[in-house]
């Protein structure tokens, strides 16, 4: 009896360690990678990749704070990352396992250090801005050729919004993006954490609320591309994807993206490894794979977002690296602002204000 059990136990143990070492669970935003890269990763490394997606920072953060998510790599946005680092949700990266980290771009590293001091816990995956996407022809038809499509006037001035309403306007359902934008429109510091200053945005957002068809974080891509709506406040790459889909469909819809002249939010999606990741080694292998210049360029060419990898730039296509909406020129860059996380009391004020604006209660 004994003799049959020993090899069986050994085989089982081998299975367990093999499964443990050769799997990596990645949790990333939806529509945020060239899926061919996932197959390429499995072929190159022999590690089995389990790739799940989410659509809001809040969902990811709740999983991180509950603990035991089972993920090895997650992709929070900067301000969310900062809070999760202080909650002890991530482990410091082992840069000896990330030789490709030399490719990281210092311009972006400087900025992400605000959220992750010394960039010890995360690497930049993609970054972008929050701005305004317009259906060029329809907006010109409604507001005239000199419509302020590059300004927050377009979406926060009730006179403009009233005329645009029939054609359709979508806003992001993300208070941490819309309230800073309203503050920028008022000429206040967009990153203000003062509840009294934040409260002033209610007048701005409340006045245009009746003309907003929907608050949503992803529907505007198709709605813009199909010509169902005229204006969306959204994320740069998503609006550029809408532009691309309209081009492919050849439906006569021309979409343009602009970072508003009053200032636009610049955000950074960072890859990090949870403190309780089951396979931290495989996670490092995945991060190193992403940090490869060719791979990162392939991802950016596919999703139309800029990345924090300076070595990848020579492999980027001209309509990515040459587009100031993706890689802003020095002039636009000056106009971009970043935000820091709210403490729980201010967060409550912000969420409450947002509910009030959306539901009228």
């Amino acid at each position: 009896m004994k003799s049959t059990w020993i090899p069986l136990a050994a085989a089982l143990a081998a299975c367990v360690t093999a499964a443990g070492a050769e799997e990596v669970h990645v949790y990333n935003w939806s529509d945020y990678i060239d899926e061919e890269l996932l197959t390429k990763f499995e072929e190159e490394t022999g590690i089995k990749l389990v790739y799940d997606v989410f659509d809001s920072n809040e969902v990811l953060e709740t999983k991180m704070l509950a603990g035991g998510s089972g993920y090895d790599v997650v992709v929070p946005t900067g301000s969310f990352l900062q809070r999760q680092i202080s909650a002890g949700a991530f482990q410091p990266l082992d840069f000896s396992k990330l030789p490709n980290a030399v490719n990281l771009w210092d311009v972006i590293q400087e900025r992400t250090a605000t959220y992750d001091p010394g960039n010890a816990y995360s690497i930049n995956y993609m970054w972008g801005t929050t701005g305004i996407g317009v259906n060029v022809a329809k907006v010109a038809e409604i507001l005239g050729e000199d419509a302020p499509i590059g300004s927050l006037e377009l979406v926060f001035n009730p006179a403009n919004m009233e005329k645009l309403a029939a054609c359709g306007v979508h806003f992001l359902d993300a208070p941490t993006e819309m309230i800073p934008a309203a503050l920028a429109y008022l000429g206040e510091n967009p990153d203000s954490h003062d509840p009294e200053v934040i409260a002033r945005t209610e007048a701005v957002l409340g006045a245009v609320r009746p003309y907003v068809q929907k608050f949503h974080n992803s529907e505007y891509i198709n709605a813009l591309a199909n010509g169902d709506i005229c204006v969306a406040v959204g994320w740069s790459g998503d609006i550029l994807q809408a532009r691309d889909r309209a081009d492919e469909a050849d439906n006569g819809v021309e979409i343009a993206y602009n970072a508003p002249s009053e200032g636009a939010l610049m955000w950074f999606d960072q890859m990090a490894i949870p403190v309780d990741a089951p396979n931290p080694d495989a996670a490092h292998t995945f991060l190193n794979f992403i940090l490869d210049a060719h791979n990162m360029a392939a991802a950016s060419n596919y999703v139309y977002y800029a990345n924090g990898n300076v070595a990848s730039q020579e492999f980027l296509e001209e309509d990515v690296i040459g587009d100031p909406a993706i890689y802003p020129d020095a002039e636009t860059l000056k106009n971009l602002y970043i935000t820091t996380p709210y403490d729980p009391k201010v967060q409550r004020v912000v969420t409450r204000l947002w509910t009030k604006i959306k539901s009228g209660t």
Partner: protein, 298 residues
């Protein structure tokens, strides 16, 4: 003998204890805690290694602050009231639609009944989420319903139904209809038809016979159906978030926001505890009343 009875009683009580009381106490404990930036995001957590002092500290740190907070903002009671209203109206509509269907099924020829039963149950074979999503395609401005109405010349402009409370009512009634039909059908099918014949022999009209005999005898099915619809409808989150608009205020959505946007698990738990009390207390009172009436009748 006594031991066997004890075992018999133990099983349902053990079930209730493990699957209702213990989870409830965990939620209640979180409701009495404070938020913290940690994993898990609240404090205190029980530290048994500190012994008696640890337990004392633990209970000392619990308070009712979060429940007081719920009374200070009108958002919460407005959301509770609005959920109650939506759940009540949906339950009534489901009853009005479901009763005739159950009645028809119970009066249908014996050989048809399994097929009819199948038709009621069949939608469950498709994911609930997909069925709710498909209502988006029916109710949207370019959807099937509006296309049909405009084709038939009933409206010239598309009706705006999606993203309003109307869509929420349609979604809830559609989703929960089988839960209303099945218990009513079960009581109607058992009903002795000779009672109705006797009533008609004694001079009742068919309508009178329905109200005097069928309605009271199917009462238990109606009550069961109403509970099965009302209880999940009041805490419904999926249907209002897919079909409702940003003006649809329901407690399930408020709870989601407390949990995810505010990261305030204690306040979210307090909202859940109050929701449970709103449901459990009236149901207990109702059942007591039922029991007393039954005893009186005997």
């Amino acid at each position: 003998m006594n031991f066997r009875r004890f075992l018999l009683v133990l099983v349902p009580y053990g079930w209730l204890l493990a699957l209702f009381l213990v989870p409830f106490l965990i939620v209640l404990k979180i409701a009495l805690s404070d938020t913290a930036l940690s994993i898990p995001p609240y404090t205190p957590t029980l530290d048994l290694s500190a012994g008696w002092a640890g337990i004392k500290d633990f209970f000392g740190a619990l308070d009712f602050e979060n429940f007081v907070f719920l009374t200070q903002d009108d958002l919460y009671w407005k959301a509770y009231l609005s959920s109650l209203k939506i759940a009540l109206i949906s339950t009534l509509v489901t009853l009005v639609v479901g009763y005739p269907i159950a009645y028809g099924m119970a009066r249908a020829p014996q050989e048809w009944r399994p097929t009819l039963m199948m038709l009621v149950i069949l939608p469950f074979w498709t994911s609930f989420l997909i069925r709710v999503y498909s209502w988006m395609g029916i109710l949207s401005q370019e959807g099937f319903l509006n296309q049909f109405l405009q084709w038939a010349g009933l409206t010239s402009e598309p009706l705006i139904i999606l993203n309003t409370n109307w869509a929420v009512y349609i979604g809830i009634v559609y989703t929960y209809l089988p839960f209303m039909i099945l218990p009513i059908y079960a009581t109607l099918e058992k009903l002795d038809v000779s009672l109705l014949e006797a009533a008609e022999d004694l001079g009742c009209s068919r309508t009178e016979a329905f109200w005097l005999i069928t309605a009271p005898l199917s009462r238990s099915g109606v009550i069961a159906g109403c509970f099965l619809v009302f209880i999940p409808a009041i805490g419904e989150f999926v249907i209002p978030s897919i079909l409702g608009g940003s003006r649809t205020l329901m407690i399930g959505k408020v709870l989601w926001e407390e949990f995810f946007s505010n990261r305030d698990w204690p306040v979210a738990s307090a909202v859940a505890v109050i929701l449970l009390l709103i449901l459990v207390i009236p149901i207990i009172l109702f059942q007591r009343n039922e029991q007393r009436q039954r005893e009186l009748e005997q």
